[in-house]
């Protein structure tokens, strides 16, 4: 009944919200992007690429400890003044718009290729965006709850590819470091897009219930 229960999100909901923002259509064609440069060492590029979201999360943690009640929009206005702050905020927001459009386009491509070739682009966009907008409109707490539920539901999907493991072979990973460090680093740059989304932490940390743990 207490109001905090229905406005602030719990740590587990925060975690699943972050995971939900990582997971996108990119997971489907991430191997495609890394294999171009790193070839069989693509898995290493993925690990190196994950440094970027970790870095942003540490930054978010730092700002959260310093200013627990201000999100990045108010902070940048405080630090850089009204005009410059607004411009920076606009750039930060446009980043999400960019992600949104890429995700939507990827989603529509996937659906058109695999399941619903009869649909037009706008039909997919409209129907997906309506439901998403409805959920976001309801507020941060319902979003947190939903992400938690979806997290449990989507973890089941991890077990689906296990069946293909019996066709796998260790030889596919050999030779290790065969494509050279330079190429591995180069490919890890490609993964940055698939890992972006953790920046949302800068916006949602004021909603955290217990800020000390983060």
């Amino acid at each position: 009944m207490n109001k905090t229960q229905n406005t602030f999100i719990t740590p587990s909901e925060f975690t699943s919200l972050l995971i939900a923002s990582f997971m996108g259509i990119g997971t489907l064609y991430l191997p495609n992007a890394v294999i171009k440069d790193a070839k069989q060492d693509g898995w290493m590029s993925c690990i190196i690429g994950s440094l970027y979201p970790l870095y942003t999360l540490f930054l978010a943690n730092y700002t959260c400890n310093k200013f627990p009640n201000n999100d990045i929009f108010t902070l940048s206005e405080k630090c850089f003044g009204k005009i410059l702050g607004s411009i920076l905020n606009f750039i930060f927001t446009s980043f999400f718009i960019f992600i949104e459009t890429t995700e939507l386009a990827g989603l529509s491509n996937t659906f058109k290729v695999y399941t619903t070739p009869f649909l037009k682009n706008y039909q997919i966009f409209l129907s997906v965006l309506t439901v998403t907008a409805y959920t976001v409109y309801k507020g941060m707490k319902p979003l947190g709850r939903l992400c938690k539920v979806l997290f449990y539901l989507t973890t089941m999907l991890i077990f689906v590819p296990i069946a293909t493991l019996k066709y796998g072979s260790y030889l596919n990973l050999m030779p290790v470091f065969g494509s050279g460090f330079k190429n591995i680093i180069k490919a890890s740059k490609e993964t940055a897009f698939f890992y972006c989304g953790s920046e949302i932490a800068f916006v949602i940390y004021p909603f955290l219930q217990d800020k000390k743990n983060y």
Binding site: M1, N2, K3, Q5, N6, S12, F111, T115, T116, F118, L119, Q123, I124, S127, V128, V131, Y134, T135, K138, G139, P142, L143, R145, L146, K148, V149, L150, Y152
Partner: protein
């Protein structure tokens, strides 16, 4: 307000006016005492009182056994109560405006000549339904008694089960004209005080001419009027209400209805039955899983069938598609139309069979189920596979234990069918996403309707062993989370 009038006739006239002249008020004049006898009047309402008590404990001693001169005695009303009236519950009332309420609830009033006070004796009786096993809530291993229409009996049933002194009753009068007695019951050191206050506020705002059942109250105080999902669960069984009270919920008991509702209610409760707790843990897990699978089938199975036959035929195995094509040969209606028609027909049969008396209902199910189904296939309206899908989803809808939730889930199948007909697999995904996000954003009196807490998992999809259920559900606000202290080994 103190009554100052002492003349018996004017007092009786006042009472008559207050109760209503047209009511079935019985007024019997008696003389008390041998010499200098005192005129008195016994007033009660017909059919609300137990006449045996009035004859034996009031009229008999007052008329036959008073052999002294009571006109000299001070405080004669109190004296009569203490010495002659043998009924157990008597009181002296000084305010005449309180009397109509007492008379209406079956009490007997004695008016004495020359005295402004009234003697009120509890003689409530009248005929009520006996405590019996509830027809709609049948239990295999639980108690057999159920609530009845009499409020006092219901409270006594609860009191008998919960002897805790913290069991608190808060009485209300609901309905401007019906003046129904209404009680909210809670356990004081478990219930969340803020929640209790908000509920009490909402109840005190009710201003309706009559309140017939608990569902009326539910609809008057609920927050989401146009929601499909039921927001309050109730039962006619005291053991269910007892368990709900122990979780920190508030029970609503209304005079004249055996159906008791509990607040707040969460989504998961509609999939739980008391049998889960009386049976074995593993069996409870199995039956709960069945319920969740069934509700998934009711919502999704027709939609998946439409998607497969209309858009994604490549996903159907080749052996199966041959028989599917053969059964669909010569049918003009699309799968969507025929499935919709069949689902609606079954819906009609079920809704019709519900209101009919038992024997005609059986005829209806035979005519509907067998003859219409068979004829529909022969007449090439539907294919046999479509009928099978409609049948399976109907049978699954009976598995959901709560009838209101069953209707809600059945209803959800139709938009899902439409979405899958328009958007294919994407429609099913969007439909489910919407249902989930709707459930997650749903708040019932400030309590989340659907939330997965780790500590509540013991009683959501599984039912943990009794020894392990040490805490009350976190989703229900309470101030005392410990349910049991001893934690024995499971050996």
């Amino acid at each position: 307000m103190q009554n100052t009038e002492t003349a018996i006739d004017s007092n009786i006239d006042n009472i008559k006016n207050l109760v209503g002249n047209k009511s079935e008020l019985v007024i019997k004049y008696i003389f008390i005492g041998d010499k200098n006898s005192l005129t008195a009047a016994v007033i009660y309402l017909n059919a609300q009182t137990d006449k045996n008590i009035i004859d034996r404990d009031i009229l008999n001693p007052l008329m036959l056994y008073v052999h002294e001169d009571i006109s000299t005695i001070q405080n004669v009303d109190d004296y009569l109560c203490k010495k002659y009236i043998a009924a157990s519950n008597t009181s002296i009332e000084t305010d005449i405006n309180m009397l109509p309420d007492s008379i209406n609830s079956g009490k007997t009033v004695i008016v004495l000549n020359g005295i402004s006070n009234f003697i009120v004796i509890d003689t409530s009786g009248g005929i009520y339904r006996q405590i019996s096993e509830p027809v709609s809530d049948v239990s295999l291993r639980g108690p057999r008694e159920g609530f009845v229409e009499n409020l006092d009996t219901n409270i006594s049933i609860l009191r008998r089960r919960i002897k805790d002194k913290k069991l608190t009753l808060h009485k209300f009068k609901l309905g401007k004209r019906s003046q129904s007695n209404f009680v909210i019951v809670y356990i004081e050191d478990i219930v969340d005080k803020d929640f209790l206050q908000s509920i009490e506020e909402k109840i005190s705002k009710i201003d309706k001419d009559f309140v017939a059942t608990n569902s009326t109250i539910e609809q008057l105080i609920e927050e989401h009027t146009y929601s499909v999902f039921p927001q309050t669960i109730g039962s006619e069984r005291p053991d269910v209400i007892e368990a709900a009270l122990m979780e920190g919920k508030i029970a609503f008991l209304l005079e004249g209805t055996p159906y008791v509702t509990t607040y707040p209610t969460t989504f998961i409760e509609f999939f739980q039955t008391p049998e889960d707790y009386y049976g074995r843990t593993v069996q409870a897990f199995f039956t709960r899983m069945l319920r969740f699978i069934a509700s998934f089938i009711v919502i999704t199975f027709p939609a998946i069938y439409i998607t497969f036959t209309k858009f994604n035929t490549e996903l159907i195995p080749i052996e199966f598609i041959e028989s599917l094509v053969q059964s669909r040969k010569g049918i003009a209606l699309t799968p969507f139309m025929s499935l919709l028609a069949m689902s609606l027909t079954i819906e009609f049969l079920r809704e019709g069979g519900q209101r009919l008396p038992g024997k005609i209902g059986q005829t209806l199910s035979v005519v509907g189920g067998i003859i219409i189904g068979d004829a529909a296939i022969k007449a090439k309206i539907v294919s046999s596979s479509t009928l099978l899908v409609a049948g399976i989803s109907t049978v699954s809808s009976f598995v959901i234990s709560n009838y209101q939730m069953s209707i809600a889930i059945r209803f959800l199948a139709y938009p899902m069918l439409l979405l899958s007909n328009l958007l294919g697999v994407l429609g099913i995904i969007i439909g489910w996403f919407f249902i989930l996000s709707y459930l997650c954003s749903f708040e019932n009196f400030g309590v989340p309707y659907f939330e997965l807490n780790k500590s509540d998992m013991k009683d959501t999809f599984i039912r943990a062993p009794m020894k392990n259920m040490t805490e009350r559900p976190k989703i229900i606000p309470n101030i005392n989370p410990i349910r049991q202290r001893f934690r024995g080994n499971n050996k």
